[in-house]
Symmetry: C2
Subunit: 218 residues, 2 copies
């Protein structure tokens, strides 16, 4: 065993692949799941289900952001159906910064050796907190602002991969994609129209893998 690793787990296909990859690399995984008022609550159930499938004990952190400003947490804003230019409405201010800060606190408290996050640039959807520059800056925060600093490694194994590559990787790692969830709307079935659904569909198609979540859907 390489020691413990905190894995940010959203319940989507990307973080599921990262969870399985971290385990494959020999880490004892500690999934960290956030309930931040997202409209797609089903994501959380998926994250719990993925953790159970690996026999890992997840921590669910409830965060209540009293301020608005994102279509993902504000029921008054529409989920965009088409890709827009610039930073989309689904951007949640500071989300990855907040998530990584908690992951860092958790990693320090339990003496974990690594933090895994499934962000990637190709499909970063215009979010500033999914860019390499951001992660590099966060590494400096980790090194300067914590007790263990460089002893905790920040890992973004998907950063330079595209969605098809991630789906292929997940397939090799036997990720149960039927337990994942990507749709921003969080209905009973994926909407097929939001950014997240369309990226997922494109990725599965290009990877030549059938998405078990879509099979049989309209």
């Amino acid at each position: 065993m390489k020691g413990q690793a905190v894995v940010l787990l959203s319940g989507g296909a990307d973080s599921a692949a990262v969870l399985y990859l971290a385990r494959k690399q020999g880490y004892a995984v500690r999934p960290l799941i956030f309930d931040y008022g997202q409209r797609h609550k089903r994501e959380i159930r998926s994250a719990l289900s993925l953790s159970r499938a690996l026999g890992a004990k997840p921590v669910v952190l409830k965060i209540s952001l009293p301020w608005k400003g994102s279509a993902l947490t504000d029921a008054l804003l529409p989920i965009p159906g088409k890709r827009t230019r610039g930073i989309p409405l689904t951007y949640v201010p500071g989300r990855n910064i907040i998530f990584l800060s908690f992951a860092l606190s958790y990693a320090e408290a339990v003496g974990a050796k690594a933090i895994f996050i499934g962000a990637h640039t190709e499909d970063y959807s215009g979010y500033p907190d999914c860019r390499k520059e951001f992660f590099d800056a966060f590494k400096a925060v980790k090194d300067a602002g914590t007790k263990y600093g460089k002893k905790i490694r920040l890992k973004m194994p998907l950063l330079r991969m595209n969605k098809a590559g991630i789906i292929r990787l997940g397939s090799e790692l036997k990720v149960p994609f039927d337990k994942t969830w990507s749709c921003y709307k969080g209905g009973k079935k994926p909407c097929g129209v939001c950014d997240s659904c369309r990226y997922r569909a494109k990725g599965f198609k290009e990877a030549g893998v059938t998405d078990p979540l879509v099979t049989g859907c309209k």
Copy 2:
């Protein structure tokens, strides 16, 4: 008016001085208070009281850290009475990183122009997340990882001041020090023994100012 400023307000003398300074500089202040399971709950009441005194509307964010590891949040660990070498037991892993991440999210959501934090190096008590290197790294995170980036300024006006200087500044700004709270133990009266009490006492003494919280106490 210079616009809005999010001010991290703990309820202690330092952040109280920063709150009054931000107001003096012309910002519409938005105090951000954290309830993170600290043993000294009285701190939160003090922060609310300071906000009311300025007519500012505070936001209180409740954060529940399910992991342990600090004497400030873990009732099983003792609050150290004497200054120890290295990082003290009262260090809360990632605390300022988490606090600043939320402040950044808040500032972005409301379009604030600045974030104020009352950290300073002289009295940083061995905490890695109170050092200049940490704040410089966090500025890079802010610039790379958010929508507004450099339009939000991170201000640490006390960084190079000592406690006596801060008390003097607070006196000039007419900070109601009787409404502040510093003791880690959070009893009815300051314990006078913990790191925080001793720094405060030293600061008031060197500044030649009477601490209204101690007057009449043993």
